[in-house]
């Protein structure tokens, strides 16, 4: 009598995953009931009893049962574009699409070398800036004070990344410099900035810096905040890059030295490419956090997507609809951040397989 092997059927797999023991069955049933209850309530609120069109605003009861998506229908332009002039909002939309395209393209491995990725980002950023700011090619100029909504969020994120990344590389190199005083000073600066909340740094750059800077250096408040944020980003990213460098075997740099390569060549061709590959997952994670924390500029008084969301239910007409607007804004953030973090997880799996 030999037992023949039988491939597990779907039912076998379900039983192993959900009903393997009495305890497991009980857990599955309890949690399953909870999931169904949550889904049922959400569907009831968000789909079945919801009001979708702005014309039916009166159907949105005060404290009614369904969601009032009418507010999004009526105010989505305000949420997405802020105070950008109405006739020019197509520019803001195209500019956002350009930046998103740059983001997607930089996930393609073909772009992963220093020259291609910098060209891609600088070109994308320039397109964005020209479209948003105008003043050339017959586009009417729109000043930074009128930028708002999603495009301001993306602008801050892109500017911080573009400014912060080179700065981070410089910081990391100074931090591991062989000259003790340079390494130590840089270490103190990085650790100090890292232990401060981002909000206090933004606040300092926005409000305090005009006191201590000579007049010609002050610049616009938006750019001061971006510089402060980039500095903060650079300090975190520098530690990530340094971690990537530390994971390199010492032999790599020594071999390069033995071949007579100069410092610049050693760093540019041997150390940094490998360090970046090691540090890719935490770097993506840092970008995720940076994108989420652009929302803090609301507190300093900028009109990015969270603030324009506030404005959307700020009128007496829509003042009951805050949950719907928050849900909408949260969804926009979620789409960006979730995509980025999934991509990070994919890369992590990929590098883990490559390292085997």
């Amino acid at each position: 009598m030999t037992k023949t092997y039988r491939a597990p059927t779907l039912w076998d797999r379900i039983r192993a995953d959900y009903f393997s023991s009495r305890l497991n069955t009980a857990l599955t049933l309890t949690f399953g009931a909870f999931v169904i209850w949550v889904l049922w309530n959400l569907a009831n609120w968000g789909l079945i009893h919801a009001v979708w069109s702005a014309e039916n605003r009166d159907l949105c009861g005060h404290g009614g049962e369904g969601a009032c998506w009418a507010v999004i229908d009526a105010r989505w332009r305000l949420i997405m574009f802020g105070l950008y002039p109405f006739e020019e909002q197509w520019r803001s939309a195209i500019a956002c699409c350009a930046l998103v395209l740059v983001g997607i393209l930089s996930c393609v491995p073909w772009f992963w070398n220093a020259r291609r990725i910098s060209i891609l980002w600088v070109a994308g950023f320039a397109t964005f800036y020209v479209l948003m700011r105008g003043g050339v090619f017959g586009l009417t100029p729109v000043f930074e004070q009128n930028w708002g909504g999603l495009s301001l969020t993306l602008f801050i994120f892109a500017a911080v990344s573009l400014l912060g990344m080179p700065l981070a590389i410089v910081f990391a190199l100074l931090r591991r410099s062989e000259l003790p005083w340079i390494a130590r000073t840089m270490g103190v600066i990085i650790d100090t900035i890292r232990s401060l909340p981002l909000l206090s740094i933004m606040f300092t750059f926005a409000i305090v810096l005009p006191f201590v800077l000579p007049g010609w250096m002050i610049g616009d408040k938006l750019y001061r905040v971006i510089v402060g944020y980039a500095l903060f980003f650079a300090c975190y990213q520098a530690e990530i890059i340094r971690g990537g460098m530390q994971a390199l075997p010492a032999g790599q740099e020594e071999a390069a030295k033995a071949l007579g390569m100069s410092y610049v060549h050693r760093i540019a061709y041997i150390v940094l490419p490998q360090a970046f590959r090691n540090a890719l997952p935490p770097t993506i994670n840092q970008f995720v956090i940076t994108f989420k924390e652009t929302s803090l500029v609301v507190i300093i008084g900028f009109f990015e997507i969270l603030a324009s969301g506030h404005a959307a239910f700020g009128t007496s007409e829509w003042n009951f609809a805050h949950v719907e607007v928050y849900a909408f804004v949260a969804l926009i953030y979620f789409v960006f951040v979730f995509a980025l973090s999934r991509y990070g997880a994919y890369l992590e799996r990929r590098t883990a397989i490559a390292a085997r």
Binding site: D17, Y18, S20, N24, L27, T28, F31, G32, F34, V35, L174, L179, P180, W181, I182, T185, I189, T192, S195, L196, P197, L198, L199, S200, F203, T204, I207, V208, F211, V212, L213, P214, V288, K292, E293, S295, L296, V298, I299, L306, H310, H322, V323, Y326, V329, A330, Y333, F334, V337, F338, S341
Partner: protein, 389 residues
């Protein structure tokens, strides 16, 4: 000069002097500009303003505060509030996060689904947005007149949650908390110190029970001695006019911050805990099973302790980061350290001094958190050079 540049050691010295010097120069330029700017505005710099009365009040304070108190005291109020919010949120985030992490590694797919959804939803939306959301939800609760009544002792309303309190002096509460800290330290000491290495576990448990009993007795005694004269010991909230009187009011601002930060933190800590469990090799659990331990014992005695040791360094960073994120409270008007500083700047104009205090305060607090937790990590981490995971 040429020869000097060709010599490596003199070149190195020059580079270092140049680097440090340029940073110092930058600071000096900032200081001079600040001085001339302040003089142009007719303001005096220095920390003398700390003794001045503020003239403005705060709506949430753990110690008594009036508008005639000094700036020094208001800053202290802010620091205490931040620490209070941070302590509650970090503890709650750890508890929720551990639950979420365990759900995800429990092996039950349905539990895993709930854990994953929780993490993905709350980790991918900015903390600030979540805090705004909870604040909007809490202030949309009914007015005090229609408040939800929980057994007649606690009330939930849009103006806050009212809980029964005790009519005791602030000092006795403070001493009781101090006693709690001492008791916790004693318990940890007994668990970890070398002196008690050879003590039987049952005896240790008796010690622990005695310590907790002692704390309870001390607290009861303190509250009895510190009770306010001519009041009942228990202090129930009741509706009078348009609002509640007496009792302890938990403001919507504080509650929204606590809910937001602890849920956001839980999503991150849940991931860390999951990674910790995954780093414990399955052989450990199987060995425990082979020795005849029940699944629960394998979990609490083998997998959990090993996982905690594995995640401790990551957790320390996470705690420091979460504590820094308590500053979002300013967005909904919770008076934390940062908000006190920014209000003080508006009111007194002593911008640079106050920013220096803000930075100094955060440096000290964050370094202390990291220091204490690193000591804990040193005490519990696996010793030796063997690879054990």
């Amino acid at each position: 000069m040429q020869a000097l540049l060709k010599n490596k050691s003199s070149r190195d010295t020059l580079a270092q002097v140049g680097f440090v010097g340029s940073i110092l120069l930058m600071i000096v330029v900032f200081a001079i500009t600040a001085r001339s700017n302040l003089q142009a505005q007719g303001m005096t710099s220095g920390f003398g303003f700390l003794d001045r009365a503020t003239g403005w009040g705060v709506n949430f304070s753990l110690i008594e505060f009036s508008t005639s108190d000094s700036y020094l005291k208001v800053i202290w109020v802010g620091i205490l509030n931040s620490l209070f919010l941070g302590a509650i949120s970090l503890v709650l985030a750890t508890v929720f996060g551990t639950v979420v992490g365990i759900l995800r590694v429990s092996g039950n797919k349905m539990a895993g689904l709930i854990g994953t959804t929780f993490v993905e939803v709350f980790r991918n939306v900015p903390l600030l947005l979540q805090v705004f959301f909870w604040y909007a939800m809490l202030t949309a609760l009914p007015k005090p007149k229609q408040a939800y009544d929980i057994l007649g002792v606690a009330f939930v309303s849009g103006r806050g949650i009212y809980l029964p309190g005790l009519n005791v002096s602030g000092m006795s509460v403070f001493l009781s908390v101090l006693a709690l800290l001492v008791a916790t330290a004693l318990v940890l000491f007994i668990a970890m110190s070398r002196r008690f290495r050879h003590t039987e576990p049952t005896q240790k448990r008796t010690f622990n029970r005695l310590i907790w009993l002692g704390w309870l007795l001390v607290t009861v005694a303190l509250f009895w001695l510190g009770r306010l004269p001519e009041t009942t010991l228990l202090n129930l909230p009741y509706l009078k006019g348009l609002n509640f009187r007496e009792g302890i009011r938990v403001s919507p601002e504080l509650l929204a911050c606590i809910i937001g930060i602890s849920i956001y933190g839980a999503a991150y800590i849940g991931e860390i805990v999951r990674a910790g469990f995954n780093s414990v090799s399955s052989g450990q659990g199987e060995a425990g099973h082979a020795l005849g331990l029940t699944p629960w014992q394998t979990f609490t005695r083998i997998r959990l302790p090993l996982a905690i040791r594995a995640v401790m360094p990551t957790l320390i960073n996470q705690y420091v980061w979460l504590f820094k994120s308590t500053t979002v409270g300013i967005a909904i008007g919770f008076v934390d350290f940062f908000m006190i500083i920014s209000t003080s700047i508006n009111q007194s104009g002593q911008t640079l001094e106050l920013i220096a205090i803000l930075m100094g305060g955060f440096l000290i607090i964050n370094y202390s958190i990291a220091y204490v937790l690193n000591r804990v990590n040193d005490a519990i981490k696996l010793k030796g050079t063997q690879l054990r995971s």
